[in-house]
Protein backbone atom coordinates (compact mmCIF):
# COMPACT_ATOMS: atom_id res chain seq x y z
CA UNK A 1 0.00 0.00 0.00
CA UNK A 2 1.02 3.60 -0.54
CA UNK A 3 0.89 6.06 2.34
CA UNK A 4 2.32 9.54 2.64
CA UNK A 5 4.04 9.67 6.00
CA UNK A 6 5.42 12.99 7.18
CA UNK A 7 5.42 14.30 3.63
CA UNK A 8 7.14 11.30 2.04
CA UNK A 9 5.30 8.83 -0.13
CA UNK A 10 6.07 5.35 1.13
CA UNK A 11 5.27 1.93 -0.18
CA UNK A 12 4.60 -0.39 2.73
CA UNK A 13 4.11 -4.10 2.63
CA UNK A 14 1.99 -4.64 5.70
CA UNK A 15 -0.98 -6.74 6.69
CA UNK A 16 -4.13 -4.62 6.20
CA UNK A 17 -5.47 -5.15 9.72
CA UNK A 18 -2.27 -4.24 11.51
CA UNK A 19 -2.70 -1.18 13.63
CA UNK A 20 -1.40 1.99 12.06
CA UNK A 21 0.34 2.59 15.40
CA UNK A 22 2.43 -0.57 14.98
CA UNK A 23 3.19 0.16 11.34
CA UNK A 24 4.50 3.59 12.30
CA UNK A 25 6.54 2.37 15.26
CA UNK A 26 7.79 -0.98 13.98
CA UNK A 27 7.98 -0.62 10.21
CA UNK A 28 8.76 3.08 9.91
CA UNK A 29 10.84 3.51 13.07
CA UNK A 30 8.68 6.42 14.16
CA UNK A 31 8.59 5.69 17.88
CA UNK A 32 7.45 9.17 18.88
CA UNK A 33 3.85 7.95 18.65
CA UNK A 34 3.06 6.21 21.95
CA UNK A 35 0.68 3.51 23.09
CA UNK A 36 -1.12 4.11 26.36
CA UNK A 37 -4.19 1.92 26.25
CA UNK A 38 -4.75 0.35 22.83
CA UNK A 39 -8.44 1.14 22.88
CA UNK A 40 -8.83 4.80 21.95
CA UNK A 41 -9.26 5.86 25.55
CA UNK A 42 -6.07 7.86 26.10
CA UNK A 43 -5.03 9.56 22.86
CA UNK A 44 -1.28 8.97 23.34
CA UNK A 45 -1.18 7.46 19.84
CA UNK A 46 -2.84 10.46 18.16
CA UNK A 47 -1.60 11.23 14.65
CA UNK A 48 -3.10 13.32 11.89
CA UNK A 49 -4.62 11.56 8.91
CA UNK A 50 -5.46 13.98 6.12
CA UNK A 51 -5.20 16.71 8.74
CA UNK A 52 -7.65 15.11 11.16
CA UNK A 53 -6.67 13.70 14.55
CA UNK A 54 -7.16 9.95 14.88
CA UNK A 55 -6.18 7.30 17.43
CA UNK A 56 -3.65 5.27 15.47
CA UNK A 57 -4.25 2.27 17.75
CA UNK A 58 -7.73 1.97 16.23
CA UNK A 59 -6.84 2.56 12.60
CA UNK A 60 -6.30 -0.53 10.50
CA UNK A 61 -3.32 0.01 8.22
CA UNK A 62 -5.59 -0.45 5.22
CA UNK A 63 -7.55 2.67 6.16
CA UNK A 64 -4.39 4.76 5.75
CA UNK A 65 -4.04 3.74 2.11
CA UNK A 66 -3.62 6.82 -0.06
CA UNK A 67 -3.84 9.13 2.95
CA UNK A 68 -1.35 11.62 4.38
CA UNK A 69 -0.25 10.71 7.89
CA UNK A 70 1.65 13.13 10.11
CA UNK A 71 3.35 12.02 13.32
CA UNK A 72 5.14 14.03 15.99
CA UNK A 73 8.39 13.53 14.08
CA UNK A 74 6.90 15.33 11.08
CA UNK A 75 4.86 17.90 12.99
CA UNK A 76 7.33 20.76 12.65
CA UNK A 77 7.59 20.28 8.89
CA UNK A 78 3.84 19.94 8.46
CA UNK A 79 2.59 22.95 10.35
CA UNK A 80 4.06 26.25 11.41
CA UNK A 81 2.50 26.18 14.85
CA UNK A 82 4.27 22.94 15.79
CA UNK A 83 7.51 24.53 16.91
CA UNK A 84 5.72 27.10 19.02
CA UNK A 85 3.67 24.35 20.64
CA UNK A 86 6.75 22.26 21.32
CA UNK A 87 8.58 25.20 22.80
CA UNK A 88 5.65 26.20 24.96
CA UNK A 89 5.09 22.69 26.32
CA UNK A 90 8.64 22.78 27.71
CA UNK A 91 8.43 26.35 28.95
CA UNK A 92 5.05 26.24 30.66
CA UNK A 93 5.17 22.83 32.26
CA UNK A 94 2.93 21.11 29.69
CA UNK A 95 5.29 18.15 29.51
CA UNK A 96 6.19 16.21 32.64
CA UNK A 97 6.75 12.50 32.04
CA UNK A 98 6.28 13.21 28.35
CA UNK A 99 4.44 10.05 27.34
CA UNK A 100 1.21 11.89 26.49
CA UNK A 101 3.03 14.87 25.01
CA UNK A 102 3.36 13.80 21.36
CA UNK A 103 -0.34 12.93 21.27
CA UNK A 104 -1.28 16.19 22.97
CA UNK A 105 0.75 18.22 20.49
CA UNK A 106 -0.74 16.34 17.54
CA UNK A 107 -4.26 16.93 18.86
CA UNK A 108 -3.45 20.63 19.33
CA UNK A 109 -1.91 21.00 15.89
CA UNK A 110 -5.15 21.59 13.94
CA UNK A 111 -6.09 24.47 16.30
CA UNK A 112 -6.19 27.96 14.86
CA UNK A 113 -4.29 30.93 16.25
CA UNK A 114 -5.90 32.60 19.27
CA UNK A 115 -8.12 29.62 20.04
CA UNK A 116 -10.08 30.08 23.24
CA UNK A 117 -9.63 27.96 26.35
CA UNK A 118 -12.86 26.15 25.48
CA UNK A 119 -11.71 25.42 21.96
CA UNK A 120 -8.42 24.12 23.31
CA UNK A 121 -10.18 21.91 25.84
CA UNK A 122 -12.43 20.51 23.15
CA UNK A 123 -9.51 19.77 20.84
CA UNK A 124 -7.56 18.02 23.60
CA UNK A 125 -10.59 16.25 25.04
CA UNK A 126 -9.50 12.90 23.61
CA UNK A 127 -6.09 12.90 25.30
CA UNK A 128 -5.37 11.81 28.85
CA UNK A 129 -2.55 13.12 31.01
CA UNK A 130 -1.94 11.79 34.50
CA UNK A 131 0.88 14.17 35.50
CA UNK A 132 -0.28 17.73 35.05
CA UNK A 133 -3.95 18.04 35.87
CA UNK A 134 -4.13 19.63 32.37
CA UNK A 135 -3.86 23.26 33.43
CA UNK A 136 -0.23 23.63 32.37
CA UNK A 137 -1.11 21.93 29.09
CA UNK A 138 -3.87 24.44 28.38
CA UNK A 139 -1.49 27.26 29.28
CA UNK A 140 1.17 25.83 26.98
CA UNK A 141 -1.24 25.68 24.03
CA UNK A 142 -2.54 29.17 24.77
CA UNK A 143 0.99 30.53 24.90
CA UNK A 144 1.84 28.91 21.58
CA UNK A 145 -1.29 30.02 19.78
CA UNK A 146 -1.55 33.55 21.04
CA UNK A 147 0.94 35.90 19.39
CA UNK A 148 0.88 38.24 22.36
CA UNK A 149 2.31 35.53 24.51
CA UNK A 150 4.53 34.03 21.88
CA UNK A 151 8.00 33.58 23.24
CA UNK A 152 6.80 34.65 26.65
CA UNK A 153 9.27 33.62 29.26
CA UNK A 154 8.30 31.08 31.82
CA UNK A 155 6.69 32.69 34.80
CA UNK A 156 9.30 33.66 37.29
CA UNK A 157 8.60 34.67 40.79
Amino acid sequence: MIVTINGKRRRLDVAPMRRLLDVLREDCGLTGTKEGCGEGECGACTVLMDGVAVDSCLVPAAHAEGRAVVTIEGAAAAKRSARALQHAFVEHGGAQCGICTPGMIMAALPLKARSSRDQIKTALAGNLCRCTGYIAIFQSVEAALSPARKGARARRR
Binding site: M17, R19, G38, L58, A125, G126
Partner: protein, 337 residues
Protein backbone atom coordinates in the same frame (compact mmCIF):
# COMPACT_ATOMS: atom_id res chain seq x y z
CA UNK B 1 -6.07 -13.23 30.33
CA UNK B 2 -4.48 -12.93 26.93
CA UNK B 3 -0.87 -11.82 27.29
CA UNK B 4 -0.73 -10.09 23.93
CA UNK B 5 -3.72 -7.96 23.10
CA UNK B 6 -2.47 -5.69 20.38
CA UNK B 7 -2.38 -8.35 17.71
CA UNK B 8 -5.37 -9.34 15.65
CA UNK B 9 -6.40 -12.95 15.61
CA UNK B 10 -6.25 -14.82 12.35
CA UNK B 11 -9.24 -14.29 10.10
CA UNK B 12 -9.92 -13.89 6.45
CA UNK B 13 -10.20 -10.22 5.60
CA UNK B 14 -12.40 -8.87 2.83
CA UNK B 15 -12.29 -5.27 1.73
CA UNK B 16 -15.07 -4.89 -0.77
CA UNK B 17 -15.20 -1.68 -2.80
CA UNK B 18 -18.96 -1.68 -3.31
CA UNK B 19 -22.12 -2.52 -1.43
CA UNK B 20 -22.79 -5.28 -3.95
CA UNK B 21 -19.43 -6.91 -3.26
CA UNK B 22 -19.92 -6.55 0.47
CA UNK B 23 -23.30 -8.24 0.30
CA UNK B 24 -21.83 -11.02 -1.75
CA UNK B 25 -19.19 -11.73 0.86
CA UNK B 26 -21.71 -11.53 3.68
CA UNK B 27 -24.02 -13.88 1.85
CA UNK B 28 -21.28 -16.44 1.35
CA UNK B 29 -19.98 -16.41 4.90
CA UNK B 30 -23.15 -15.92 6.91
CA UNK B 31 -22.62 -16.26 10.64
CA UNK B 32 -18.84 -16.55 10.22
CA UNK B 33 -18.59 -12.96 9.06
CA UNK B 34 -18.10 -9.84 11.16
CA UNK B 35 -18.84 -6.43 9.65
CA UNK B 36 -16.38 -3.69 10.51
CA UNK B 37 -17.27 -0.04 9.95
CA UNK B 38 -14.96 2.51 11.65
CA UNK B 39 -13.44 -0.23 13.78
CA UNK B 40 -14.04 1.48 17.13
CA UNK B 41 -16.04 -1.40 18.59
CA UNK B 42 -14.55 -4.11 16.40
CA UNK B 43 -10.92 -3.59 17.41
CA UNK B 44 -11.73 -4.11 21.07
CA UNK B 45 -13.66 -7.28 20.45
CA UNK B 46 -11.08 -8.79 18.13
CA UNK B 47 -8.02 -7.86 20.18
CA UNK B 48 -9.59 -9.09 23.38
CA UNK B 49 -10.42 -12.24 21.47
CA UNK B 50 -13.79 -12.48 23.08
CA UNK B 51 -15.22 -12.61 19.57
CA UNK B 52 -13.31 -14.68 17.03
CA UNK B 53 -14.94 -14.40 13.62
CA UNK B 54 -13.53 -16.41 10.75
CA UNK B 55 -14.15 -13.59 8.30
CA UNK B 56 -13.99 -9.83 8.72
CA UNK B 57 -15.65 -7.58 6.16
CA UNK B 58 -14.06 -4.14 6.29
CA UNK B 59 -16.40 -1.52 4.84
CA UNK B 60 -13.66 1.13 4.82
CA UNK B 61 -13.33 1.10 1.04
CA UNK B 62 -17.04 1.31 0.23
CA UNK B 63 -17.31 4.96 -0.73
CA UNK B 64 -21.00 4.72 -1.62
CA UNK B 65 -21.77 4.16 2.06
CA UNK B 66 -20.46 7.62 2.96
CA UNK B 67 -22.19 10.94 2.65
CA UNK B 68 -25.32 12.88 3.48
CA UNK B 69 -27.88 13.82 0.88
CA UNK B 70 -31.22 15.54 0.69
CA UNK B 71 -34.22 13.24 0.48
CA UNK B 72 -37.46 15.15 -0.06
CA UNK B 73 -36.79 17.61 2.71
CA UNK B 74 -35.37 14.90 4.90
CA UNK B 75 -31.93 13.34 4.75
CA UNK B 76 -30.33 10.09 3.83
CA UNK B 77 -27.10 9.42 5.69
CA UNK B 78 -24.73 6.70 4.54
CA UNK B 79 -23.98 4.22 7.31
CA UNK B 80 -20.22 4.82 6.97
CA UNK B 81 -20.48 8.59 7.45
CA UNK B 82 -18.29 9.60 10.36
CA UNK B 83 -19.81 11.07 13.48
CA UNK B 84 -17.74 14.22 12.99
CA UNK B 85 -19.28 14.66 9.54
CA UNK B 86 -22.78 14.14 10.91
CA UNK B 87 -22.18 16.58 13.75
CA UNK B 88 -20.88 19.37 11.49
CA UNK B 89 -22.89 18.83 8.31
CA UNK B 90 -24.86 22.03 7.52
CA UNK B 91 -27.96 20.13 6.42
CA UNK B 92 -28.02 18.03 9.56
CA UNK B 93 -27.49 21.08 11.72
CA UNK B 94 -30.20 23.02 9.95
CA UNK B 95 -32.88 20.33 9.80
CA UNK B 96 -32.06 17.94 12.61
CA UNK B 97 -29.90 19.67 15.21
CA UNK B 98 -31.03 16.93 17.61
CA UNK B 99 -28.92 14.42 15.68
CA UNK B 100 -26.02 16.85 15.27
CA UNK B 101 -25.95 17.42 19.03
CA UNK B 102 -26.09 13.71 19.77
CA UNK B 103 -23.27 12.93 17.32
CA UNK B 104 -21.12 15.75 18.68
CA UNK B 105 -21.14 14.31 22.16
CA UNK B 106 -20.12 10.74 21.36
CA UNK B 107 -16.84 9.53 22.90
CA UNK B 108 -13.83 11.72 22.00
CA UNK B 109 -12.82 13.90 19.04
CA UNK B 110 -10.54 11.22 17.63
CA UNK B 111 -13.21 8.56 17.93
CA UNK B 112 -15.79 10.80 16.25
CA UNK B 113 -13.30 11.34 13.41
CA UNK B 114 -13.03 7.59 12.93
CA UNK B 115 -16.30 6.17 14.15
CA UNK B 116 -19.38 6.03 11.94
CA UNK B 117 -23.07 6.60 12.54
CA UNK B 118 -23.82 3.06 11.40
CA UNK B 119 -21.32 1.73 13.89
CA UNK B 120 -22.64 3.93 16.64
CA UNK B 121 -26.15 2.51 16.36
CA UNK B 122 -24.93 -1.05 15.87
CA UNK B 123 -22.34 -1.19 18.67
CA UNK B 124 -22.56 -3.87 21.29
CA UNK B 125 -23.30 -3.52 24.99
CA UNK B 126 -20.62 -2.02 27.23
CA UNK B 127 -21.34 -4.03 30.39
CA UNK B 128 -17.84 -4.60 31.72
CA UNK B 129 -18.52 -8.13 32.85
CA UNK B 130 -19.68 -8.99 29.34
CA UNK B 131 -16.82 -7.10 27.65
CA UNK B 132 -14.21 -8.73 29.84
CA UNK B 133 -15.29 -12.17 28.69
CA UNK B 134 -17.20 -13.40 31.73
CA UNK B 135 -19.48 -16.21 30.52
CA UNK B 136 -22.74 -14.35 31.08
CA UNK B 137 -26.17 -14.78 29.50
CA UNK B 138 -25.32 -12.39 26.70
CA UNK B 139 -22.16 -14.37 26.00
CA UNK B 140 -24.07 -17.62 25.95
CA UNK B 141 -23.76 -18.53 29.64
CA UNK B 142 -26.37 -18.79 32.33
CA UNK B 143 -25.68 -16.03 34.82
CA UNK B 144 -25.70 -12.25 34.81
CA UNK B 145 -22.58 -11.10 36.66
CA UNK B 146 -23.88 -7.54 36.83
CA UNK B 147 -26.99 -8.64 38.70
CA UNK B 148 -25.37 -10.31 41.70
CA UNK B 149 -25.03 -8.96 45.25
CA UNK B 150 -21.36 -8.02 44.89
CA UNK B 151 -21.65 -6.53 41.43
CA UNK B 152 -21.26 -2.87 40.63
CA UNK B 153 -24.16 -2.18 38.30
CA UNK B 154 -24.43 1.58 38.37
CA UNK B 155 -24.35 1.74 34.58
CA UNK B 156 -26.98 -0.92 34.05
CA UNK B 157 -30.67 -1.17 33.24
CA UNK B 158 -33.69 0.04 35.17
CA UNK B 159 -36.26 -1.02 32.58
CA UNK B 160 -37.19 -4.27 30.89
CA UNK B 161 -34.29 -6.34 32.16
CA UNK B 162 -34.64 -9.96 31.22
CA UNK B 163 -31.80 -12.04 32.68
CA UNK B 164 -29.25 -9.62 31.19
CA UNK B 165 -29.15 -6.08 32.63
CA UNK B 166 -26.87 -4.48 30.02
CA UNK B 167 -27.99 -1.28 28.32
CA UNK B 168 -27.77 0.14 24.84
CA UNK B 169 -24.89 2.64 24.91
CA UNK B 170 -25.61 4.69 21.77
CA UNK B 171 -26.14 8.46 21.74
CA UNK B 172 -27.35 8.72 18.17
CA UNK B 173 -29.87 5.87 18.50
CA UNK B 174 -32.38 7.73 20.70
CA UNK B 175 -32.02 10.82 18.52
CA UNK B 176 -32.79 8.82 15.39
CA UNK B 177 -35.82 7.20 16.99
CA UNK B 178 -37.05 10.62 18.08
CA UNK B 179 -36.74 11.75 14.46
CA UNK B 180 -38.76 8.79 13.13
CA UNK B 181 -35.71 7.66 11.16
CA UNK B 182 -35.68 4.48 9.11
CA UNK B 183 -32.78 2.11 8.74
CA UNK B 184 -32.05 0.66 5.32
CA UNK B 185 -30.85 -2.92 5.55
CA UNK B 186 -29.71 -4.92 2.57
CA UNK B 187 -29.30 -8.62 2.30
CA UNK B 188 -28.35 -10.36 -0.92
CA UNK B 189 -30.45 -8.60 -3.53
CA UNK B 190 -33.20 -7.69 -1.09
CA UNK B 191 -33.67 -4.47 0.82
CA UNK B 192 -35.85 -3.81 3.81
CA UNK B 193 -36.51 -0.58 5.60
CA UNK B 194 -36.92 -0.81 9.35
CA UNK B 195 -38.25 1.97 11.57
CA UNK B 196 -35.47 3.06 13.93
CA UNK B 197 -37.34 1.81 16.95
CA UNK B 198 -37.64 -1.68 15.52
CA UNK B 199 -33.96 -1.81 14.67
CA UNK B 200 -33.14 -2.39 18.34
CA UNK B 201 -34.01 -5.52 20.28
CA UNK B 202 -34.12 -6.40 23.93
CA UNK B 203 -32.97 -9.61 25.63
CA UNK B 204 -36.47 -11.02 25.55
CA UNK B 205 -36.19 -11.27 21.77
CA UNK B 206 -32.51 -12.02 21.39
CA UNK B 207 -30.16 -11.89 24.35
CA UNK B 208 -27.01 -12.09 22.24
CA UNK B 209 -27.49 -9.00 20.12
CA UNK B 210 -28.77 -5.45 20.48
CA UNK B 211 -30.10 -4.98 16.94
CA UNK B 212 -32.14 -6.86 14.37
CA UNK B 213 -29.09 -7.27 12.15
CA UNK B 214 -28.65 -10.94 11.36
CA UNK B 215 -25.77 -12.69 9.58
CA UNK B 216 -25.82 -11.55 5.97
CA UNK B 217 -27.46 -8.21 6.78
CA UNK B 218 -25.80 -4.90 5.99
CA UNK B 219 -26.98 -1.57 7.36
CA UNK B 220 -26.40 0.78 4.43
CA UNK B 221 -28.16 4.03 5.25
CA UNK B 222 -30.31 5.91 7.68
CA UNK B 223 -33.21 7.91 6.31
CA UNK B 224 -34.71 10.74 8.24
CA UNK B 225 -38.06 11.98 6.95
CA UNK B 226 -38.87 15.69 6.81
CA UNK B 227 -41.48 15.24 9.55
CA UNK B 228 -39.41 16.73 12.34
CA UNK B 229 -37.20 19.10 10.36
CA UNK B 230 -36.94 22.43 12.09
CA UNK B 231 -39.12 21.34 15.01
CA UNK B 232 -38.28 21.93 18.64
CA UNK B 233 -35.90 19.43 20.16
CA UNK B 234 -33.99 18.56 23.28
CA UNK B 235 -30.91 16.39 23.75
CA UNK B 236 -28.94 15.83 26.90
CA UNK B 237 -26.39 13.25 27.91
CA UNK B 238 -25.40 12.62 31.50
CA UNK B 239 -22.12 10.85 32.04
CA UNK B 240 -19.40 10.60 34.65
CA UNK B 241 -16.87 12.54 32.60
CA UNK B 242 -17.57 15.11 29.91
CA UNK B 243 -15.72 13.14 27.23
CA UNK B 244 -15.40 9.48 26.28
CA UNK B 245 -17.95 8.10 28.65
CA UNK B 246 -21.08 6.38 27.55
CA UNK B 247 -24.30 7.87 28.79
CA UNK B 248 -25.48 6.97 32.26
CA UNK B 249 -28.72 8.25 30.79
CA UNK B 250 -29.34 10.36 27.71
CA UNK B 251 -32.56 11.79 26.35
CA UNK B 252 -33.63 12.80 22.86
CA UNK B 253 -36.89 14.61 22.26
CA UNK B 254 -38.67 16.10 19.26
CA UNK B 255 -41.57 18.42 19.93
CA UNK B 256 -44.04 19.77 17.43
CA UNK B 257 -45.62 22.92 18.79
CA UNK B 258 -48.84 24.43 17.73
CA UNK B 259 -48.88 27.78 19.37
CA UNK B 260 -47.94 27.14 22.95
CA UNK B 261 -49.15 23.56 23.10
CA UNK B 262 -47.44 20.37 22.14
CA UNK B 263 -49.21 18.85 19.18
CA UNK B 264 -46.96 15.85 18.82
CA UNK B 265 -43.82 14.55 20.47
CA UNK B 266 -41.21 11.85 20.45
CA UNK B 267 -39.20 11.16 23.57
CA UNK B 268 -36.55 8.48 23.96
CA UNK B 269 -34.06 7.77 26.72
CA UNK B 270 -31.05 5.49 26.44
CA UNK B 271 -28.69 3.88 28.90
CA UNK B 272 -31.66 2.51 30.83
CA UNK B 273 -32.56 -0.67 28.96
CA UNK B 274 -31.12 -3.04 26.40
CA UNK B 275 -32.82 -1.04 23.69
CA UNK B 276 -33.40 2.71 23.52
CA UNK B 277 -36.44 3.27 25.71
CA UNK B 278 -39.20 5.18 24.04
CA UNK B 279 -41.54 6.95 26.44
CA UNK B 280 -44.83 6.16 24.73
CA UNK B 281 -46.97 7.05 27.71
CA UNK B 282 -45.27 10.41 28.03
CA UNK B 283 -45.65 11.16 24.34
CA UNK B 284 -49.38 10.43 24.54
CA UNK B 285 -49.92 12.33 27.76
CA UNK B 286 -48.25 15.57 26.77
CA UNK B 287 -50.11 15.98 23.51
CA UNK B 288 -52.19 19.13 23.62
CA UNK B 289 -50.47 20.39 26.73
CA UNK B 290 -48.21 23.41 27.16
CA UNK B 291 -44.50 23.08 27.95
CA UNK B 292 -45.03 24.01 31.56
CA UNK B 293 -44.29 22.65 35.00
CA UNK B 294 -47.50 20.70 35.33
CA UNK B 295 -46.87 18.90 32.06
CA UNK B 296 -43.28 18.25 33.04
CA UNK B 297 -44.23 16.80 36.42
CA UNK B 298 -46.85 14.58 34.87
CA UNK B 299 -44.43 13.38 32.23
CA UNK B 300 -41.66 12.72 34.72
CA UNK B 301 -43.87 10.48 36.82
CA UNK B 302 -45.11 8.59 33.80
CA UNK B 303 -41.60 8.16 32.46
CA UNK B 304 -40.33 6.05 35.34
CA UNK B 305 -43.37 3.85 35.83
CA UNK B 306 -42.20 0.28 35.87
CA UNK B 307 -38.60 1.13 36.64
CA UNK B 308 -36.82 -1.53 38.69
CA UNK B 309 -33.48 -0.33 39.99
CA UNK B 310 -30.57 -2.63 40.74
CA UNK B 311 -28.37 -2.25 43.79
CA UNK B 312 -26.31 0.66 42.49
CA UNK B 313 -28.42 2.44 39.90
CA UNK B 314 -31.44 3.78 41.73
CA UNK B 315 -30.12 7.27 40.97
CA UNK B 316 -31.13 6.69 37.36
CA UNK B 317 -34.79 7.03 38.32
CA UNK B 318 -34.61 10.67 39.47
CA UNK B 319 -32.16 11.21 36.65
CA UNK B 320 -34.65 10.08 34.03
CA UNK B 321 -37.34 12.21 35.65
CA UNK B 322 -35.12 15.26 35.63
CA UNK B 323 -34.17 14.78 32.00
CA UNK B 324 -37.79 14.38 30.98
CA UNK B 325 -38.69 17.61 32.78
CA UNK B 326 -35.85 19.43 31.11
CA UNK B 327 -36.83 18.06 27.73
CA UNK B 328 -40.32 19.41 28.19
CA UNK B 329 -39.53 22.74 29.76
CA UNK B 330 -36.11 23.40 28.20
CA UNK B 331 -34.23 26.28 29.76
CA UNK B 332 -37.08 27.06 32.14
CA UNK B 333 -36.57 23.76 33.98
CA UNK B 334 -32.89 24.49 34.37
CA UNK B 335 -33.66 27.87 35.79
CA UNK B 336 -35.98 26.59 38.48
CA UNK B 337 -34.47 23.25 39.49
Amino acid sequence: MPPIRDVMPAFELFQPASVGDALGVLDRHGADAWVMAGGMDTFDWLKDRIKRPKVVVDLGMVEELRGIKDAAGGLEIGAMTTLTTVAHNPLVKERFPLLAEAALIVASPQIRNQGTVGGNVSQDARCWYYRAGWPCYRAGGNICYADTPTAINREHAIFNADRCVAVNPSDTAPALIALDAEFVIKRGSAERVVPAREFFVGPGIDITRLTVLQPGDLLTAIRIPATWAGKAHYFEKVRDRQVWDFALVNIAASLNMSGTTISDARMVVNGVAAEPYRLDAVEAAIKGKPRDKATADLAADLAVQGAVPLQHNAYKIPLVKALVKRAIRGEAEWATS
